[in-house]
């Protein structure tokens, strides 16, 4: 093959003193990086195929392998980074769109890291979560403007009829990842963990595999522009229904599940032919206004007989606050806002890296807007897009979120190493693939346990942080921006976030 201008991004380093040529790496790499040469009794690597998923290094029984990120270092040109140059080479080769997956890969600022949490000292004593009850229970759904009590009986009772609520054991849910984009065992891991944890997983827009209907009470099901797998039973099986308008990783464009990932099982679940590309249009073809959205929301409410909350998920874009307001007024019980660091199984890299706004600002703006309009109680706000740890979650709650969705963190718990090649369908970790050679690598019993462990750990940490602030219920943290301070941000950023600078 003629030499290509695109150079390998990774170096596969094999310690000859440790390699025993056992072939585990050869058998595990779906990208065929490793190959065994019996005549020399040695294993060699074709580094140009390596995506840096580290599967081989993980399983190498002698620890002989190191995968080193060695992007080509062209002469430093300031404006022309090596990546920018490589991208030009790639497109000059292919003539195609640069594809990417998972979240924004550019070194954009992480605003969470500019926010610091408060803790009580002396005047407002902190609470020890090991000794005192600490409530993380979260209810999502429309709350009444005011509550009326019926006092005539022996005990007071609630006279107000409440809108349907989702009850979560903690303010963290698994975000929408469709069967098709991720594997059966990945979906199952998420559903099992959600049920065990008392929270919710989200089907994404790919329908619900028949095996997962039992998990319905622990699932939110999505209705997206492709309407894949949407039936009355599908809507009826779940705890809530989410209309997906947009996704933080690729605002303004639709979804594209390549035909290679549409096997028999995915085809039946999505109700599309085997091998056909599953194309979700950029817009819903029946929604061109808030009024149209209202129609769909109420159609779905009718379908679920007003027994389940309806969520609307949008990407965080420039005028997100006004859009969120419209969504709430259209009748949504939950508004999910997905920031520009949200993940995806496949997106044009230019869109992923350049469209949308950070969730921190979107969340603050939406919360402010709904409060100022006096409609904050009409819908719960769920933030998503790049939550990495429990501190990010606490900061989001303090900025105004009722709960968060985590997607990427959940996949990392399942083994994802962020190689960002989901769109190839060759996920060596058995997560973002439908290849039967690869999906078996994820044992959902193990996966569910790891997810359970992760969120159990986060829940402990959230309780510790809340206790430190002297707060004993997540209800008291929500929108409590006094517990946030920022460093290194401009006055304008502080104003939008609605928080003070450190020391203030």
């Amino acid at each position: 093959m003629a030499p290509r201008l695109v150079q390998p991004e990774f170096s596969v380093q094999r310690d000859g003193e440790r390699c025993i040529a056992c072939g585990v790496c050869v058998r595990q790499c779906a990208n065929q990086v490793h190959s065994y040469h019996p005549e020399y009794e040695e294993v060699r690597a074709a580094a140009e195929r390596c995506v840096g998923c580290h599967r081989c290094a993980w399983l190498c029984p002698t620890g002989a392998l190191s995968i080193i990120h060695t992007p080509p270092t062209y002469r430093h040109g300031g404006h022309w980074s090596s990546e920018a140059i490589s991208n030009v080479y790639k497109q000059a080769d292919s003539g195609g769109v640069l594809l990417g997956a998972m979240g924004n890969s550019q070194p954009v600022p992480v605003y969470w890291d500019h926010l610091l949490l408060n803790a009580s000292q002396v005047t407002n004593p902190s609470i020890d979560p090991l000794r005192e009850p600490m409530e993380l229970k979260t209810f999502l759904g429309r709350k009444p403007d005011q509550v009326e009590l019926e006092m005539s009986g022996p005990e007071p009772s609630l006279a107000t009829t409440l809108a349907p609520q989702l009850e979560l054991s903690m303010p963290i849910m698994f975000s929408a990842m469709s069967y098709g984009a991720i594997s059966y065992p990945a979906c199952k891991s998420l559903a099992m963990a959600a049920r065990e944890l008392g929270t919710l997983a989200n089907s994404g827009e790919g329908g619900l595999h028949p095996d997962f209907w039992d998990f319905g009470p622990s699932m939110i099901v999505q209705v997206a522009s492709g309407r894949f797998g949407v039936t009355p039973d599908y809507l009826g099986a779940a705890a809530a229904v989410e209309i997906k308008i947009g996704q933080g990783a690729k605002p303004g464009i639709g979804g594209h599940l390549p035909g290679e990932k549409v096997d028999d099982s995915v085809s039946r679940t999505r109700m599309i032919p085997v091998g056909s590309d599953a194309l979700s249009p950029a817009p819903h073809h029946d929604i061109y206004s808030i009024e149209d959205l209202r129609q769909l929301i109420y159609s779905l409410k009718e379908a679920v007989r007003y027994r389940k909350p309806i969520s609307v998920k949008i990407a965080a874009v420039h005028n997100v606050a006004a859009i969120a307001s419209g969504i709430v007024r259209a009748g949504a019980d939950i508004v999910a806002i997905d920031g520009y660091k949200g993940g995806t199984g496949a997106a044009p890299a230019m869109i992923r890296d350049n469209v949308g706004i950070p969730i921190e600002f979107a969340l603050a703006a939406v919360d402010d807007r709904l409060r100022s309009e006096g409609i904050r109680n009409l819908a719960s706000v769920v933030a998503c897009g790049g939550f990495r740890c429990s501190a990010d979650v606490v900061k989001a709650l303090a900025l105004g979120a009722d709960a968060v969705y985590i997607g990427t963190a959940a996949l990392i718990a399942l083994g994802c190493h962020m190689c960002q090649q989901c769109f190839t369908g060759k996920c060596n970790w058995g997560i973002a693939t439908q290849d039967p050679y690869l999906t078996r690598r994820l044992n959902p019993e193990i996966g569910a346990q790891r997810l359970y462990n992760l969120l159990s750990g986060w829940a402990h940490e959230i309780k510790e942080m809340m206790g430190g602030m002297g707060i004993n219920a997540v209800e008291s943290l929500r929108g409590n921006r006094h517990h946030l301070r920022a460093w290194g941000l401009s006055d304008r950023e502080l104003k939008i976030l609605g928080i003070s600078a450190v020391g203030e």
């Binding site: 003193e17 440790r18 025993i20 040529a21 056992c22 072939g23 585990v24 058998r27 595990q28 399983l59 029984p61 002698t62 058995g430 290849d435 039967p436 050679y437 078996r440 690598r441 994820l442 044992n443 019993e445 193990i446």
Partner: protein
Amino acid sequence: MKIIQAIAQYCMNCRLCEINCMVAHSSSRDIITAFRAERERLTSRVTVEQSGPRTFPVQCRFCQDAPCAVACMTGAITQDPATGWVAHDPDKCVGCWMCVMVCPNGAMARDVGGHVTSKCDLCAALDQPACVAGCPNGALVLAERDEVENA
């Protein structure tokens, strides 16, 4: 008695079970030393079988009326009538391959270097069989022989 149950659904053909088996039964019990210095004697007592994407490891099933014990002409393979345990004594084995000929599971491995057969002993000296302990995906578990499910 408990034997090893494979869960084919989660077997991913890494074959670490084979490698761990070889190391656990090597003299050095050190993976690098074993593969360098003892290579010609390394014999896995577990074999990962493959058919398309489906794979699963097979090792001695400690059969009722074990045919290997019936066929063994030297008395190297014996079965305890009370427990069902099938023992193989390599010192008595001459490598006639009669057990290889009769094992319906293909579970008698040939240690060609030592000219003896070699079979799963459930790593009796360890807390857990090396293949079970080392399986990265929970595809090998211990189960009562009579309750072993299909792979």
